[in-house]
Symmetry: C2
Subunit: 155 residues, 2 copies
Amino acid sequence: MEIKIEAIAIVKNKREGLSDDFWGGILTEVELLPHIPSASLNGIETFSHLEILFQFDKVSDATIVFSGHPRGNKEWPDIGIFAQRKKDRPNRLGLTIVELVERKERSLLVKNLDAINGTPVIDIKPIMKEFLPDSPIKQPGWATELMVDYWKNRQ
Amino acid sequence: MEIKIEAIAIVKNKREGLSDDFWGGILTEVELLPHIPSASLNGIETFSHLEILFQFDKVSDATIVFSGHPRGNKEWPDIGIFAQRKKDRPNRLGLTIVELVERKERSLLVKNLDAINGTPVIDIKPIMKEFLPDSPIKQPGWATELMVDYWKNRQ
């Protein structure tokens, strides 16, 4: 079941290399591609948070796995890819909730997007509180350990 | 920038017709397609919530808009498509946080997935609390009004 989609915007920031941690404080501009009209962003400034869907386009087919130890760390269990947020995954799709800082005419300034410069964006959705979990979140210990430095600022 | 992706799973539930409201209490099975190994779900039961990415495959190109009044309601403002979660959108991508009820060998039983029977699923990600918003959510009045019946049970 092949599905064809198209980038609708592109990530512009100062983050060039692939790396796992220290995404804190990064400001990113998400800029619409020429075929998408500016009106598609109208009213978006009335929301505080957005979901950005993107593709990890630098990931090659060869590194995609169906399961493995997160970050190759043998102290963490061998986990299925759909129980991880690792980038080397079928379809190479990424998804992050960001804070909207400013809407410009054809771009959005956002905080805390963990995607590098040049990444294709395939959708943007507003966060409504009714779509957030309404019961307590349970997650395994390895996930909490893995996230310790993720949103920290680089020293 | 064309991007080719493939369905990894399919939605199985009793919801056949397209409709806007009353998604409450619906149980859905998300079943892996044959080319995806069962191991890709290993350990997923250690998470309480998942993000399901899917495609609204019944939406035709003709109904896709870049902006409009949500649900055609003129009492609500004319809003860009990226400030709405409407299905008739570029790339027709859907995305919902669900509660995981049970992991079976090759499928997941989930609660509160707003996708109809037969919908192709393109990714599954675990919710980690570090990826949820850590500042208060702001949303416009029309969004709150629109959501009033969304998660209610059908009478």
